[in-house]
């Protein structure tokens, strides 16, 4: 079975007792249930069923400070508490494994290498909201992750961690591995629910919020893979332990996917608040700039987040510090580019993605991303005209905040930041009908 050659910091995690998500990801046996259990796996799930009430469980997760790791950063415990206690309907938990924001490849590592930790987290989350059928929605392209999760699920059933009357507690829990069909938008929670229902993956108007009316119009919680994988550790080691990691407001650890022009692209678990500069230059992480070509910019949280200039990267990787720099932590996908990169070319790649992935439901996003792509392609091809930049800004302004889901915002935020931070280069492109620097990255 495929095993990604991705670099991780599992060696550091094995020695640092506070790092928990990546502790065993370099051991291929961690996928097997016996190994997982011998290392304390499913202990938290048993503890929850044996002795913890739903209210106490939600309270523990609230106290831990765990926030959604998919990008939005919403407090996980608070989200769980929105499910109505008195609803006579079925409740559902969906683990969002539709990882597809350019730059992001962290959830894949957990699915591929520690799948039982996700199942355990999903099970605990399910119990917290009174769910008896939980889903994991995996993007269809991740064939190897799908196989790993299905195998892990079968093992969990066979050993009695899922199914009827789990551990004799009287609690029943079933699981479905649902696979997507190739659509970034299905990582947006309401589009994800439509997709499970067999519909086109288009987002829904809110309210009603999924916690009230989600999957099959029943109360539903959607959580990211990484958020759920952290949950068993919080149960085993306590909310106070988890809350002691990270910064005052951004608690815990976070996985970062580092890509682009660094010597050691990889996936790294660090406490929130870790310095971005160290992430790029430290030999334990990014190992510095590829070929020593100086840094030009960083996209710190996935393709949808505003960029940072080289003089802005001495910043803590946490929700608040990046916000202060007018950017976002997002999914933790750090994309690094060097001085040989044309900024218009970067944006061309990004807008192509968002135009392609717009679900077509809201006019500003459907039409606007198309117009933006046309204008940006024109500038990149050396056919930019006076007034193009103002026109791009105008279109961006008419998309931002005017769509049902955040895809529209995601498409325009990097463009707005690139126009703000690299204005001269855009102007040069228009005036001289060519790149200031030509992005010509060799493949050899």
């Amino acid at each position: 079975m495929h095993y990604s050659p991705v670099i991780t910091n599992a060696d550091i995690a094995a020695k640092d007792e506070n790092l928990h998500l990546f502790q065993y990801v370099e051991d291929p046996k961690q996928c097997e249930i016996d190994t997982f259990v011998s290392r304390g796996g499913y202990k938290a799930w048993k503890k929850v069923l044996d002795s913890i009430s739903r209210e106490d469980l939600i309270e523990t997760i609230k106290k831990s400070g765990l926030r959604g790791r998919g990008g939005a950063g919403f407090p996980t415990g608070l989200k769980w508490s929105f499910v109505p206690k008195d609803s006579p309907k079925a409740r559902y938990l969906c683990c969002n494994a539709d990882e597809s924001e350019p730059g992001t490849c962290k959830d894949r590592v957990i699915m591929e290498r520690d799948p039982h930790s996700i199942i355990e987290g999903m099970a605990i989350g399910s119990y917290a909201i009174g769910c008896h059928l939980m889903f994991i929605y995996i993007r269809g392209e991740f064939t190897h992750c799908i196989e790993k999760m299905e195998k892990a699920m079968e093992e969990a059933y066979a050993k009695g961690h899922l199914g009827k009357n789990i551990y004799g507690s009287g609690y029943d829990l079933d699981m479905i591995v649902h696979t997507g069909g190739g659509a970034y938008i299905c990582g947006e929670e309401t589009a994800l629910l439509n997709s499970i229902e067999g519909e086109r993956g288009q987002s829904r108007m809110r309210p009603p919020f999924p916690a009230i009316e989600g999957l099959y119009a029943c109360p539903t919680i959607v959580n990211n893979v990484e958020s759920l994988a952290a949950v068993p550790h919080i149960i085993n080691r306590g909310a106070e332990w988890y809350a002691s990691l990270g910064t005052e407001k951004s608690k815990g650890t976070k996985l970062f996917s580092l890509s682009g022009h660094v010597n050691r692209p990889g996936n790294f678990e660090v406490p929130l608040g870790f310095n971005l500069k160290d992430m790029i230059y430290s030999p334990d992480y990014g190992g510095g700039m590829l070929g020593d070509v100086p840094l030009k910019g960083v996209i710190p949280g996935g393709a949808s987040t505003p960029m940072l200039l080289p003089d802005m990267i001495d910043v803590a990787l946490d929700y608040e510090s990046l916000q202060e720099k007018d950017s976002m932590l997002g999914s933790g996908a750090i994309i690094v580019f060097n001085e040989n990169t044309c900024i218009v070319w970067v944006i061309k790649k990004l807008i192509h993605f968002f135009r392609h992935e717009s679900c077509g439901k809201c006019t500003p996003c459907r039409e606007g991303t198309g117009w933006l792509e046309q204008m940006i392609n024109r500038i990149e091809a050396g056919q930019g005209q006076t007034g193009d930049l103002e026109k791009i800004e105008e279109v961006c302004g008419n998309i931002l905040g005017r769509t049902i889901c955040p895809l529209g915002d995601a498409a325009v935020m990097p463009i707005q930041s690139a126009l703000r931070l690299y204005r001269d280069e855009w102007q040069y492109h228009i005036d001289h009908k060519k790149c200031m620097v030509k992005s010509n990255f060799e493949f050899k």
Partner: protein, 159 residues
């Protein structure tokens, strides 16, 4: 019937687990695509009978997603991620390399129907870029030598 007994059984096994019939649409399309290599109206019709959902609802869903193409493609579908992280690592040049090696343009299929070459959006292989997905399999951290070996091996494979 185009779908084999094995595919039909697989679809039924998956379908029965969902609380509602329509939820089996994507799993059924996935099984069909993996067997056939494309999913067209004939197959929608068959799926419709198997999972007892109107054909129009299957078509409606199928046409939204990129993984259920209606037309057949080459035996080996080369899907090159050409989004930002891969592009920074040379995916544009990698596409040119493949175009030259296979003597086709992006979006085309070789005359012997063996290879189709397309560019796709982010496949979540950003820290192991550049990459190509061949049918279902990922090939990551590619350089020219690795890629040439991969293609030559596929070329040498007997049908």
């Amino acid at each position: 019937m185009i779908l084999t007994e094995r595919s039909i059984t697989k679809i039924k096994e998956k379908a029965v687990r969902y609380p509602r019939k329509k939820s089996a649409i994507l799993p059924a399309l996935t099984v069909a695509y993996r067997q056939v290599g494309h999913v067209d109206e004939e197959i929608y019709k068959e799926i419709s009978k198997i999972i007892d959902v109107p054909m129009v609802e299957i078509a409606e869903a199928a046409t939204f997603y990129t993984m259920f193409p209606k037309k057949p493609r080459g035996k080996y579908l080369l899907q090159v991620c050409n989004n930002i992280s891969c592009a920074l690592r040379g995916s544009d040049s990698m596409i040119q390399h493949l175009e030259n090696k296979l003597d086709i343009k992006l979006g085309e299929t070789t005359a012997d129907n063996k290879f189709s070459l397309i560019a796709v959006e982010c496949l979540g292989s950003c820290s192991t870029a550049p990459m190509v997905q061949v049918n279902l399999d990922y090939h990551e951290n590619l350089d020219a030598q690795k890629l040439d070996t991969l293609i030559d091996d596929l070329k040498a494979k007997k049908d």
